[in-house]
């Protein structure tokens, strides 16, 4: 099973409710082989919003976490397909 870094900072989530199959900062993925990272851009820098197994996206062709910006650079998002790959993002401002 894929292992992804798990971290919740968005106030939209109950950290403990969100944490399924989590041990410390590592989540064991049940239904996906994709890890995901969401970041909010604050003062020009990405700040972690949500790192976890990706329950939403069905495809993650890359082994490293290349970010793409969304909604006028308010959010960065990356998906990747190797263990703990969502801990290091590849980001060019």
């Amino acid at each position: 099973l894929r292992r992804c870094v798990f971290q919740v900072t968005s106030p939209n989530y109950d950290k403990y409710a969100a944490a399924r199959n989590v041990n410390g900062s590592i989540q064991l993925c049940e239904n996906t082989h994709c890890c995901v990272g969401y970041y909010v851009i604050m003062n020009g820098q990405p700040k972690v919003d949500y790192l976890a197994c990706d329950s939403v996206e069905k495809s993650c062709p890359s082994s490293v976490c290349e970010t793409h910006s969304h909604f006028n650079n308010r959010f960065l998002r990356c998906v990747c397909n190797t263990d703990l790959c969502n801990s290091n993002i590849i980001w060019t401002p």
């Binding site: 968005s10 995901v36 969401y38 919003d49 949500y50 990706d54 996206e57 998002r77």
Partner: protein, 116 residues
Amino acid sequence: MQRRLRATRAGPTTGGTVCGLKSLTVSLEKHLLGPQTATINNCRGSCAFPLANANNHAILLHYHIESSSSGGGSSDERAPCCVPVAYEALEVMDWNEHGTYLSIKPDVIARACGCR
């Protein structure tokens, strides 16, 4: 009602395929953080006789339009249309001013079609 109406006329289907589910993948990038695309499907095809997966209203509407036009007049009524009649939800990553959040959106993916 459906049984008898169907029995009163049986002929080959004319013009195109009968109303049914076709695959359709759309981009969600402008609306949501994820997924990037979703296969929501679409209902397409003819709702002429025999009406696919129709209900009593659609059958009566179809016969009303047909008898109006066969009488020499023309009907400007809306004819039965091929639309989704069953859906599935989709889990998405949405956002608000506080950040991201997971959300289950209902009625996103068409699962069955019918003439309505």
